[in-house]
């Protein structure tokens, strides 16, 4: 009856089950989870004293608070001792993030996503693979690293530098990464090698998506989850938390909009300050579920602004201009906390204070498509003082709609400046930062890469470097650029061409058998063919890995101890190991350490002691904690008073140990951590006293004028091209799945819900093009093509379509432009022009088994 296997009874952990604390491996929210493991063959009883939950299971649990243990929260795994163990992973009851054991459909599958040879996750990589005779053949770690180190050394010895070594690596928390693995990867490529041509997971370069905020003195993670519960107004700008940070919405925003947090507001507000149910402003081209749910709760307290794609920074400046006109600012705050010399420039160029208000607003209406009255209403909701003259408390949260917009730097800068103009950073109920996608765990040695255009940059576009035919070794770690990089169709074709050129060369007369001969032949082939030697280090044989020469199996979440922070509270916790990795899969830090030692061995054999020593960065790393502590020591002195917290890196955890984290459990500690009287103390909210600049003052910036669209997209707006590609396309995520679906693609619970990537189209356009729910459509432009299943919805307005960014059966990035912001090298993932057509015929099976009900309709 169901299209997937269902359960009607689950095993009960016995009282002697091992209990571990962890945090969800998936999204930015970082919900707390508890893991119970015990050998198959026994189970606990129903009475509270007979099971490890300590919960009376004889009666049904109470809704909204009782034990949550659903069908996807159990699995059976095999450990290295050869025995089978039950694994139960349920939401924790003591987390300050996911109150009442809340969780999402993504986190609920943490258990079934564990590796097992008896389930769909048997696809996990176990052993290193080498392409030999154009097939993958299993080899040992020693052999794999000897080949890889031989190739890398051959390249750098010949060049005298590492310019031909290109890397694309994760830099996130959660998901099997965290501080340990980031420190490992960073140490290999920045301490051992000195790699300039490195890029961060989906992006084409090594950069920050928020330099526009950081260079103002505001790190993007500055608020706490509590601020969403006590804010007078929440602004969601290009962010859809209900679907991408679900529990942050349901436990921290929704109750505020429902008026269920008034007591908490009173506690955090000044005496006599009015507190009422929260207001929500959504700025997004779509009617996203985070908006339509709030409309269902209280339409009169929601506002939706739908700027034309790419014009958000103009809109942010316009809201700020209204605030300026209406004097919604605190002159004393501006004078004491911000750089007033730079403010004049901001006032002139961003707010255009010299342009008459009416004319300014008319220009803004024309550019953004947003009505003046709505802009003014937004300014009132964001910054108009409350009765009694109390400053309004507004929390502004932005995400991919902003950071992956065109002109990344200016978009981010305009929004944080709007927030700071209204004194909406550093107070309870305020803040201006990212929603976040994944969790964070960034700790790395300093890199040989530059900053934004204002700090020696912009960084090199490594995608372009490679597709232009440069680079010889390409090492991809924990990311799948064939799906996730912008303009991925072109990228994929070029990388395939270059990797195949090398394979063909090696295969001409059979690959040499002896290792050293193979290495020599690879080096010869790289010079002879302009080809690329590609190494992929990952959990699965990803789309990218399928074209690799060498594949290295990495371990995942739960297979080692790891640490990360979430984004909405910078809450650092220990994610405890509860199972073994498959086969010989290893932690990324360990792979990096071993590679370093192998390089050292080769250099030492040649008597090059100095080079050898560079690569021995990891020789003392034995445990996960060794790496964690080594990374932690790289942070600056943090024995400083609270008033100086702004000088610390946002994720500073110096002085924290695993023992400390075990002790605090789900309560964790909020970074940046300071040391007071020898003990680590956390930071609830940032920038209450100073901003993160040299002089502690907020550094204003004059944004560019509206200059239209970049050439890569503007080409579609002229003449014939405008007719040929009549739709704007934006892209994004779907609630049920995580990232590129690297785990989800193997889980029938997920693939049955989303068997294909989908496209949203308005009812008007659908009718005109003869498209119905469940039809297949091709979407294309000059960059690429992709096939989607159709969902008709009022989420998008006529003339705009929305496509799912990643799915293992296709990626919207086939169509995204190669454009990057010249100030940061951050791509515009979220907008281009396309054509769409119905694909003849239909797939009745797909239509019969998939739901096409409207996802944003809650009334």
């Amino acid at each position: 009856m169901s299209n997937i296997g269902r359960r009607d009874a689950l095993p009960i952990p016995p009282t002697n089950a091992e209990v571990k604390n962890t945090v969800c491996q998936y999204c930015t929210v970082g919900c707390g989870y508890k893991v119970y493991t015990w050998p198959v063959g026994s189970q606990g009883g129903l009475a509270a004293n007979q099971n490890a939950f300590g919960v009376d299971l004889r009666n049904p649990q109470n809704p909204l608070g009782g034990l949550v243990y659903t069908e996807t929260m159990h699995s059976i795994v095999t450990r290295r001792d050869g025995r089978q163990y039950h694994v139960v992973i349920v939401p924790a009851n003591d987390s300050p993030i996911n109150y009442k054991r809340d969780h999402s459909s993504r986190g609920a599958t943490n258990a079934i996503a564990t590796w097992s040879d008896a389930r769909a996750t048997k696809e996990r990589l176990k052993y290193p693979l080498l392409r030999l005779g154009d097939q993958f053949q299993v080899i040992t770690w020693d052999e794999a690293l000897t080949i890889l180190a031989g190739v890398a050394k051959g390249i750098r010895d010949k060049d005298g530098n590492d310019d031909n070594i290109a890397v694309k690596a994760f830099d996130h928390g959660g998901s099997g990464a965290g501080f340990e693995n980031n420190w490992g990867v960073g140490s290999l490529f920045f301490k051992g090698f000195s790699v300039k041509h490195i890029a961060i997971h989906n992006r084409p370069a090594y950069n920050s998506e928020v330099w526009g905020s950081r260079e103002r003195g505001v790190h993007e993670l500055n608020y706490d989850a509590i601020d969403a519960r006590v804010a007078d107004t929440i602004v969601l700008w290009g962010a859809n938390p209900y679907e991408t940070a679900s529990v942050f919405y349901t436990e921290h925003m929704q109750p505020n909009i429902q008026g269920a947090t008034l007591e908490e507001k009173q506690k955090n507000f000044s005496k006599g300050e009015p507190a009422e149910a929260g207001y929500l402003i959504v700025i997004d081209p779509r009617r996203i579920s985070s908006l339509t749910i709030a409309e269902t709760i209280a339409k009169e307290r929601t506002l939706h602004l739908r700027p034309n794609l790419g014009t958000d920074y103009i809109l942010a400046n316009a809201i700020a201009r209204v605030m300026w006109e209406r004097k919604y600012y605190d002159q004393k705050f501006l004078q004491t906390r911000t750089d007033m010399a730079k403010f004049e420039e901001y006032k002139e160029k961003s707010l255009k204070a010299a342009t008459p208000y009416a004319q300014f607003m008319a220009d803004v209406e024309r550019i953004t498509g947003v009505k003046r009255a709505d802009i003014e209403k937004a300014a009132d909701w964001i910054a108009k003082p409350k009765a009694g003259g109390f400053a309004r408390r507004t929390l502004t949260i932005y995400e991919k709609g902003i950071i992956w917009n065109m002109k990344n730097y200016d978009q981010v800068a305009a929004i944080v400046q709007m927030a700071v103009l209204g004194n909406n950073v550093g107070r309870a109920g305020t803040g201006c930062g990212r929603l976040g996608g994944h969790q964070e765990g960034y700790v790395r040695p300093s890199s040989p890469t530059p900053g934004s255009i204002y700090n020696g940059g912009p960084p090199v576009n490594v995608d372009k470097y490679l597709t232009d035919g440069k680079g010889k070794l390409y090492w991809v770690i924990g990311t799948n650029p064939y799906l996730s990089t912008p303009n991925s169709q072109y990228f994929r074709k070029r990388i395939r061409e270059r990797t195949k050129a090398l394979s063909d060369f090696l295969g001409q007369a059979g690959e040499p058998g002896p290792t050293q001969e193979l290495v020599a032949k690879i080096l010869e082939g790289l010079d002879a063919t302009g080809g690329l030697f590609m190494v992929v280090q990952d959990l699965y044989l990803t789309h990218t890995a399928q074209d690799a020469h060498l594949v290295l199996p990495a371990s995942a979440w739960g297979e080692a101890n790891q640490t990360s922070v979430n984004c909405n509270s910078r809450l650092l916790r220990l994610y405890e190991k509860f199972m073994d990795p498959p086969g010989e899969a290893k932690q990324d830090w360990e792979i990096c350490k071993l590679m370093g030692l192998k390089m050292a061995e080769l250099y030492r054999a040649e008597g090059k002691e100095k080079e050898a020593a560079r690569f021995e960065f990891g020789k003392n790393w034995r445990t996960d904690e060794d790496v964690f502590l080594d990374g932690g020591n790289s942070y600056p002195n943090n024995a400083i008073p609270a008033s100086e917290e702004a000088t610390l890196p946002a994720e500073c955890y110096k002085g924290v140990t695993y023992a400390f984290l075990r002790q605090v459990g789900q309560q964790g500690i909020r970074t940046p951590v300071r040391i007071e009287n020898g003990k680590p103390v956390g930071t609830l909210r940032r920038y209450s006293v100073k901003f993160g600049t040299k002089d502690g003052k907020f550094s204003w910036y004059a944004t560019d004028d509206w200059e239209g669209y970049p050439a890569e997209v503007a080409k579609y707006l002229e003449g014939d091209m405008a007719q040929k590609y009549p739709f704007w396309m934006t892209t994004g995520r779907a609630q049920a799945v995580w990232q590129t679906m690297y785990n989800d693609r193997f889980l029938p619970e997920k693939t049955s819900l989303l068997p294909m990537p989908y496209v949203e189209i308005s009812p008007q356009d659908a009718q005109r093009l003869g498209l119905k729910n469940g039809d297949l459509a091709q979407v294309w432009n000059e960059e690429g093509n992709a096939t989607f299943v159709v969902m008709v919805t009022d989420s998008v307005s006529p003339g705009l379509i929305f496509t799912m960014m990643f799915h293992h059966l296709g990626s919207a990035n086939n169509l995204t432009p190669g454009y990057t912001d010249p100030k940061t090298t951050i791509p515009w993932y979220k907008g281009t022009r396309v054509a769409i057509r119905k694909i003849r015929g239909s797939l009745p099976d797909l239509q019969d088994t998939t739901s096409f009900l409207q996802q944003n309709k809650f009334d």
């Binding site: 299209n3 269902r6 049904p60 009782g66 459909s105």
Partner: protein
Amino acid sequence: MVLSRRRIVQVLGGVTMASLTGAGKAQFWFAPSLTYPAIKVGNVNSLKNNDPVYFNYPDARSQGILVKLGRPAIGGVGRDRDIVAFSAACTHMGCGVQYKGGRFLCPCHYTMFDPAKAAAVYQGLASTGLPQIQLGVAQNGDIFARAVNGLIWGRVKNI
């Protein structure tokens, strides 16, 4: 849905692993793995489209919803294969779902389930569809609940 041979093999493959090794009291079988009562929950002739009927199943502490959708559904019974029943406890955190506008909607965190697609979660936070209550129809049109396909929220075992 009709299980193809290949799919039966897959399903059994999963089961063997769990049941052979689950030598303790419980066997971890795919649903329905327990012995369920047969209880009359309605009659095909008295059901009106989109007018849900509530009943308790498999015991007094678990509410079910019976609804005639007016469109064919996975697991549907009746002439038009459009009569389906589900546990009414949201599989997210146990709130009672409402049948509204042709779908099930949970008022707590807005998970929505498609009744024609085995109550699959097409939006929201729940991790599984609502447990589907297997129905049978007698000659006289009486509809019987016969088993529950999926775990009722808040329980470790349906009965």
